[in-house]
Amino acid sequence: MQALLALAGKDLMLLRRNRGHLFFTFVWPLVAALFFGTVFGGGGDDNGKITVRVVDEDQTPASAQLIAAVGRMEGVETTPATREAGLDAVRHSKAAAVVIAPKGYGDAAERLFYGAPPEIELWVDPSRKAEAAMLEGQLMGASMERMQTLFQGGDAAAKQVDRAIADAAGLPDGGDATLVKFLGEVKTFVGGRPPASAAPAPAEAGAAKSGGWEPVSVHRHEVQDETRGPRSGFEVAFPQGVLWGMLGCALGFALSLVTERSRGTLARLRTSPLTRTHVLAGKALACFVALLGVQALLFTIGAVAFRVIPSSVPMLVAGCVSLAAAFVGIMMVVAVLARSEQSAGGLAWAVFLPLSMVGGGMVPLFAMPAWMQAAGNFSPVKWGILALEGAIWRGFTWADMTLPCGILVAVGVLCFSVGARLFARTEA
């Protein structure tokens, strides 16, 4: 184990000192991601606003006020719609969310401090957690706005309180004295006369009863975005850039193994007590670590600077790990088959270019003709991109992730064992 770490450590140290390898591992893929991201339509959906369909099923002043409030939200663009049209828009990626004021919203909104709070429906695609949370927060804020208008007084407010008092007195348990008294105070505040039925009662007694009340309840529902389009060009370009980075990195490691053979250091390692498998495993470990490093760096830059936010971080990690495993295997086969540095480079390109071409490494998968997409099934590049995109914008579930990740890991394991077998034979 100690020797294995020493082997891998040596390779990472060599990587750090090899400018060409560093460039093609870290800089080139970033350049590619930025270039393709810009070509594919750059900075995301129009002016970076979230498009929201708003549905007013209640048609009351209160619901109209809510819809207007949503329209005034920061970074949100609203279009009125019916419930079905709105949900359809999300399904087809035309909108990020639907906000619905259902029947009875206005009614509930007029009851203050008791009863079921007014209900707002928020429909979002499950992958859009960030937008959902943002909208939910803003909806809470919007309903507070309604409370504010209430407390600014006026006739409507006084009427509302009157109704509340009447309702409260008529509650099944004979009326909540505390609530009635409180409402009386509210009425005084908004500018009416105190209700006659107000009776004195200890304030503490009522506090407990009205404790669970909330001004509004936002019900979040899920509606699957079926088209699953990327939210920006960068969400397509970064997985592609990562693949190029992986290629550069893996190719560098393949070259380093070939160089070790031609320079004789491999022979020296083989005169040590290490087995051949050890030597290969050390190289594979270093390559694996470097590949994860490339992915971590690129996706961090993507997240921080280009809003490439994975819908699931654990899934992205799973995708990255599987992808790294596949590339370690491919690297191994290339390194073992190549007899010289030149042939390693040539061989790597000969292997990777067609795989990349049909696998969506150059043209995005969704933009390819059907036959090419079918051919892509034989390319680990396709499964790699699918795994990354699945975790970023395709809204994959863990079940969806199993196939691409499983294929990638299988490719890695298969290639590694083939490579190890060939290595044992060629080095005899």
């Binding site: 000192r17 022979a267 005169t271």
Partner: protein, 281 residues
């Protein structure tokens, strides 16, 4: 310490090593002497397990073949072509190779320092090997072979491209290793080196061992008589003789001797006599 029995290696139709048997004793410095292409490096590669022989066996220290990882622990190899990481410093190279043999901590530091001292690279220890001269790289190559303190060292042409001063230093270190009880196998085509440091020498050509013995015995057996060169007014004359004084007196009796020289046979002569050609053809 090392027994090679009936080793054979062919490359296509070309026989590189042909039924080669040698027994190297513990504690001796053993020379493999032969011209380019004689099969020295091929023999070394088979001895350390880098090449598998087509026929024959290798045994190291009575523990078996070097294909077993544990047996390789006894070995240190300095290949003919440099086997160091150019992008790593001298110290990093040595630390890395030492760790491959399981060294760590204080033992590792001590051994790395000792190896750096042996290679006379202490003041360049932090410099990348790529900045070294050819001779310095070769010294580092040797240091990497013995950083883990092996019982059996195989040095394949360790003095090629090294200046006379460094060469002398390397030869002294090899003599010091013998004093420590290590076994050293040393391939070269420099006869003077072989004559100076080797306890025994095997003369190899075309993959075959032509003779194995101490240098003195080889010269006695295959060197032939000393060569007397006498220059008279008639010009130079060469005489092979066991009685140089008598022969010189005989020549001097008839003519005026202007100059004379007596050359004792050397390994070069031995090689010429064994193969019919000189070592550096």
């Amino acid at each position: 310490m090392l027994t090679l029995s009936h080793l054979r290696k062919t490359y296509g139709a070309h026989v590189a090593v042909d039924d080669l048997s040698l027994h190297i004793r513990a504690g001796e410095v053993f020379g493999l002497l032969g011209p380019n292409g004689a099969g020295k490096s091929t023999t070394v590669s088979m001895a350390v397990g880098l090449l598998s022989p087509d026929a024959g066996t290798v045994d190291i220290g009575g523990q078996g073949a070097p294909t077993q990882p544990e047996v390789r622990r006894l070995l240190g190899v300095a290949p003919q072509s440099l086997a160091i990481y150019e992008d790593l410093s001298a110290e990093e190279n040595l630390r890395f190779f030492a760790r491959m043999f399981g060294l760590s901590g204080a033992a590792l530091r001590t051994r790395v320092d000792a190896a750096l001292a042996l290679a006379d690279l202490q003041d360049r220890r932090k410099d990348a090997a790529s900045t070294f001269s050819g001779g310095m790289k070769r010294r580092l190559n040797i240091a990497a072979a013995m950083v883990h303190d092996p019982k059996l060292l195989l040095l394949d042409e360790p003095t090629v491209g090294v200046d006379p001063q460094s060469r002398n230093a390397i030869l002294e270190r090899i003599e010091a290793m013998r004093a420590e009880g290590r076994t050293v196998i040393y391939t070269t085509h420099y006869m003077e080196e072989a004559a100076r440091i080797c306890d025994r020498v095997a003369i190899i050509d075309h993959g075959k061992v032509l003779a194995v013995d101490t240098v003195a015995n080889l010269i006695a057996a295959h060197g032939g008589d000393p060569l007397l060169t006498v220059t008279t007014s008639d010009g130079p004359e060469q005489i092979r003789t066991r009685d140089p004084v008598g022969d010189l007196a005989r020549v001097a009796a008839g003519r005026t001797v202007l100059d004379f020289r007596l050359d004792r046979a050397d390994l070069e002569q031995v090689f010429l006599n064994l193969t019919g050609r000189t070592l550096r053809d």
